[in-house]
């Protein structure tokens, strides 16, 4: 039982202040006490002696942590509003290839190869002569070679353990390694495809070129993941790179670089994508890291 409410001109009793600080008084009494506290400095001073300092320190600590973690910036807020869970976005923040520096590098390389092709088309390269247009397919060869490889590089950096400094912690944690890896891969793939598709619009190629780059990029990424269930992930990424670079270079030297994204190649990419999806489905447990050599 707490001491009665303070009458006009009196102070609140010690018992009442202690109960108020502990949060054990009725709401009606809380209002009365707070009304009294607003006009009584002596009781405010007496109240501070009843406040649990440890609890205050804990609350201050939590507040500091929330400030230190922040809300993740504009993109983070926007995606959260779109329904993406906050914790998934936080996990993505640790993906190296989703950092600005990596994406800027990708854009830089694309700008060089796409800019070179565009400059050739408009006859602005020294010795290029008059405008030659994309009818001269050699102009497109560097871009066609590099663009899907860049997507592959971004995806590989997103999931290779060697690029995650805290990968051992991720292995020893209960969060599903497969989910983590797939979320990172899909986001890296999406982030890399945007500049690649934009560059495909800029280069002097056929109108269908941006769409034609999607399937090879998807196929190479899926192949890398699927191969990583069978061999070392680094070897898988190198194999995927070779799978693209070898025919792209071969066709470029045969003066037919566009063939790498045309009909037969698209069918081949679709086949690789389907086969990789099947392998991934069957062997997805092998993507779970830890407890294996």
């Amino acid at each position: 039982m707490t001491s009665p409410l303070p009458a006009a001109g009196e102070h609140a009793g010690e018992d009442l202040l202690a109960s108020y600080a502990a949060g054990t008084v009725e709401p009606v009494v809380v209002w009365s006490v707070e009304a009294h506290l607003t006009r009584c400095a002596a009781c405010r001073g007496a109240l501070s002696g009843h406040v649990d300092q440890r609890r205050l320190a804990r609350n201050r600590g939590v507040l500091l942590v929330r400030v230190a973690i922040g809300d993740g910036g504009r993109v983070h807020r926007l995606l959260r509003r779109c329904g993406v869970p906050d914790h998934l976005l936080r996990l993505l923040a640790a993906t190296p290839s989703l950092r600005g520096s990596w994406l800027l590098s990708v854009i830089g390389v694309l700008a060089v190869v796409a800019g070179e092709a565009a400059a050739f088309r408009h006859g602005r390269m020294p010795g290029a002569g008059p405008a030659i247009g994309y009818q001269d397919p050699a102009v497109l060869a560097p871009f066609l070679l590099v663009a899907p490889l860049l997507v592959l590089a971004v995806v590989a950096v997103a999931f290779l353990p060697m690029f995650d400094p805290a990968s051992r912690l991720a292995v020893a944690a209960p969060f599903s390694g497969v989910t983590l890896l797939l979320v990172r891969t899909v986001c890296a793939l999406a982030a890399a495809l945007v500049p690649v598709v934009v560059a495909a619009f800029v280069v002097p190629g056929p109108g269908w070129l941006p769409a034609a780059l999607l399937l090879p990029s998807l196929a190479l990424s899926a192949f890398t993941l699927a191969a990583a269930t069978l061999v070392d992930p680094r070897a898988a990424a190198v194999m995927a790179g070779g799978l693209w670079a070898a025919p792209a270079l071969l066709l470029a030297t045969s003066n037919a670089p566009l063939l790498i994204v045309q009909h037969h190649a698209q069918v081949a990419c679709a086949a690789v994508l389907c086969a990789s999806a099947v392998v991934l489905l069957i062997r997805r447990d092998r993507l779970e890291m830890g407890w294996k050599r």
């Binding site: 230190a68 973690i69 912690l169 020893a172």
Partner: protein
């Protein structure tokens, strides 16, 4: 002694039977049998003795070539049981990598998500708790690249404490800590609620003597001693002596701060001034005997 062994077996939470692991021609673990009960167990051994390999297997990160491990009656070879062990695990790897651009709080938040603490409020409370426990509450907003080596080590310990794990595996937790921080670390471990199973590796015998009721000495991939620190020290009874001069009969000799020589050997010479052995003396004798084999 026999009674103590029986007690340990009865209360064993983690059990390893005949663990072996090779890295090429190097035999890192060679038939290790181990039981861990509630409380702190110190794993003592020189560099290259197999401590890190053993702890990574107990933490479900590595897999043995032969032998079995179980924790809480769960078998890490089974994927679902492995995840269940990880839910109860806190692990500090020897070489913990950090996302250096993260703040201390953001890094802990990331690890908390990996530990399936997805609720934002609970995560902030948990991060604040472990920051306070490791004395890093004022560093919540500091980027990891700006933290000193000792602070990073404390951050590593903090992440292991997230989620109040029942099994805490700490690989060289006191490396890089100054004497005061080591003292705080000992206090921290002794005050953990719920009496978790703690195993920590070190090559510093004074850590063992100060906080570990139980010690396991690992030499060249084999367990050479299991018992209390006092029992380890007692293995050197009558084999440690002090003298004004260096004694050529001793296995090991060094001059102490008092300018007198301390000797360890198979048996003290007649008339030698016997001194009370320490945990380090017992460990050094064991280590010497293993090297001589």
């Amino acid at each position: 002694m026999e009674a103590m062994k029986t007690t340990n077996v009865r209360t064993a939470v983690v059990r390893a039977d005949g663990l072996s692991r090779r890295y090429g021609a190097v035999r890192a673990l060679d038939g290790v049998d181990l039981t861990l009960g509630r409380g702190i167990t110190g794993l003592l051994g020189p560099n290259g003795a197999g401590k890190t390999t053993l702890l990574s297997i107990l933490a479900t990160v590595g897999e043995p070539d032969a032998g079995q491990v179980s924790a809480f009656g769960l078998d890490p070879r089974n994927a679902a049981e492995r995840v269940e062990i990880r839910r109860r695990l806190g692990y500090l790897p020897q070489e913990l990598g950090y996302h250096r651009h993260f703040t201390a709080a953001a890094f802990l938040d990331y690890v908390a998500i990996l530990k399936e603490i997805t609720d934002r409020r609970r995560r902030a409370q948990e991060v604040a708790r472990v920051l306070a426990a490791t004395g890093l509450e004022d560093r919540a907003r500091t980027r990891i690249r700006a933290l000193s080596g000792g602070m990073r080590q404390r951050l590593g310990i903090a992440q292991a404490l997230l989620g109040e794990p029942e099994l805490l595996i700490l690989d060289e937790p006191t490396a890089g800590l100054d004497p005061e921080q080591r003292l705080r670390f000992r206090e921290l471990l002794s005050g953990l609620p719920g009496e978790p199973v703690i195993v920590l590796s070190t090559h510093q015998a004074d850590d063992i003597a100060a906080i570990c009721p139980r010690v396991v000495v690992l030499l060249r991939g084999q367990v050479h001693f299991t018992g209390t620190p006092a029992e380890l020290a007692a293995t050197a009874d009558g084999r440690v002596w002090a003298a004004g001069e260096r004694d050529p009969r001793a296995h090991l000799s060094w001059r102490g701060g008092d300018n007198r020589w301390r000797h360890i050997g198979e048996a003290s010479p007649a008339g030698a001034e016997l001194v009370a052995p320490t945990v380090e003396d017992g460990y050094l004798l064991l280590s010497h005997a293993a090297d001589a084999r």
